[in-house]
């Protein structure tokens, strides 16, 4: 009798796990990719943002994380930063690395930023951009910006910070 009771209770407890609300992660596979290009354009255009608007705050939250992920993941600075928009972070935070990004004025650097390495204007992280950065190192080009980009994946101290990874 005791064994039967134990079996019954165990079964009941096991079944309760099925009654949980279904987790948001179940939807993750079919989720559309986040595209913050519209938000970035709005920020870049200098549109005044109503900080009391929950829609605006939600967009900022979403796209700020997305931008930060891209910066951390591959060490590239994006076109906005290279183009002197390092300071354009609506939450008021500044990163020294971004200042350095803005200071890179060589033509090669501009090419790099406008090319695949820095081209995240659609909010996506392009795998090819990694290869191109790596390729620049391998090609041994002496262009200042590309060398710095190529040095990013090494443990070299100075180059890392300049590329704002």
């Amino acid at each position: 009798m005791n064994n039967f009771k134990t079996l019954l209770i165990t079964t009941a407890v096991a079944l309760t796990f099925n009654a949980n609300a279904h987790d948001p992660s179940m939807h993750a596979k079919k989720a559309a990719k986040l595209d913050c290009s519209g938000y970035k354009k709005m920020v870049a255009s200098g549109t005044k943002m109503d900080m009391s608007d929950p829609v605006m705050l939600a967009m900022m939250k979403k796209c700020k994380n997305k931008t930060a992920e891209h910066d951390n993941a591959d060490g590239h600075h994006d076109t906005e930063k290279a183009g002197g928009k390092c300071d354009d972070m609506s939450d008021g935070q500044h990163d020294k690395k971004e200042m350095k990004c803005g200071d890179m004025t060589s033509e090669a650097t501009e090419k790099m930023s406008k090319g695949k390495c820095g081209d995240m204007s659609d909010g996506h992280h392009d795998k090819k951009s990694d290869k191109k950065c790596g390729d620049m190192k391998a090609s041994g080009d002496d262009k200042k910006g590309e060398m710095k980009c190529g040095n990013m994946d090494s443990s070299a101290k100075g180059s890392d910070s300049k590329c704002g990874n």
Binding site: G38, Y39, V55, K61, K66
Partner: protein, 177 residues
């Protein structure tokens, strides 16, 4: 006395006719054949009055949080947009095939379908109740069986904002990344 007997007889006759209609199967039940206006009116009144009564005592929390918009938006996109559409979308297979047609929640006009005179609080109450409990024989599920109240309130918060959103804003707020 004669009047009462007549009324009772008419009542019994009405029950017999209704039973005959039901058991004969002659009433068209397909979703592609609309109800006649009278039947539709009866069902609509029953629905609206039932929801009004059942939702009257619901306490509405603050719906202005950005986190609620993000949570509710992602859930709405995954669970609701196929029927209730999104900004820039006018129809889907579900809106064409379902009867009654699901309201297009991306438009402000949908509010008029459910008593356009409601204030913000009443609207939120009804929305919450409808999402949580669903509507019988309509295709609207009772999401409360699989989602807690916080998630449902987040959806309410998002749906209330959705008519103001552009397609870009919708895409950002509903992404799960």
């Amino acid at each position: 006395m004669k009047t009462i007997k007549t009324l009772i007889l008419l009542g019994i006759l009405g029950i017999i006719v209704a039973t005959g209609v039901i058991y004969s199967g002659i009433y068209p039940i397909g979703a592609d054949v609309p109800h006649n206006k009278f039947t539709y009116w009866i069902l609509e009144q029953a629905r609206e009055r039932s929801i009004s009564r059942a939702s009257a005592d619901i306490s509405v929390p603050d719906l202005s949080s950005a986190d609620m918009l993000l949570s509710g938006g992602a859930d709405y996109n995954d669970m609701c947009s196929s029927c209730h559409l999104k900004p820039g979308q006018n129809e889907s297979d579900m809106t064409i095939g379902l009867y009654p047609k699901p309201p297009n929640l991306s438009l402000a006009e949908h509010e008029e379908e459910h008593g356009g005179d409601d204030d913000e609080t009443t609207e939120a109450q009804k929305m919450f109740w409808t999402i949580k409990h669903g509507i019988k024989a309509s295709g609207m599920p009772a999401w409360g069986k699989t989602h807690d109240d916080d998630r449902i309130w987040a959806m309410v918060a998002f749906i209330k904002k959705m008519p103001e959103l552009t397609e870009d804003q919708y895409q950002i707020l509903t992404s799960r990344e």
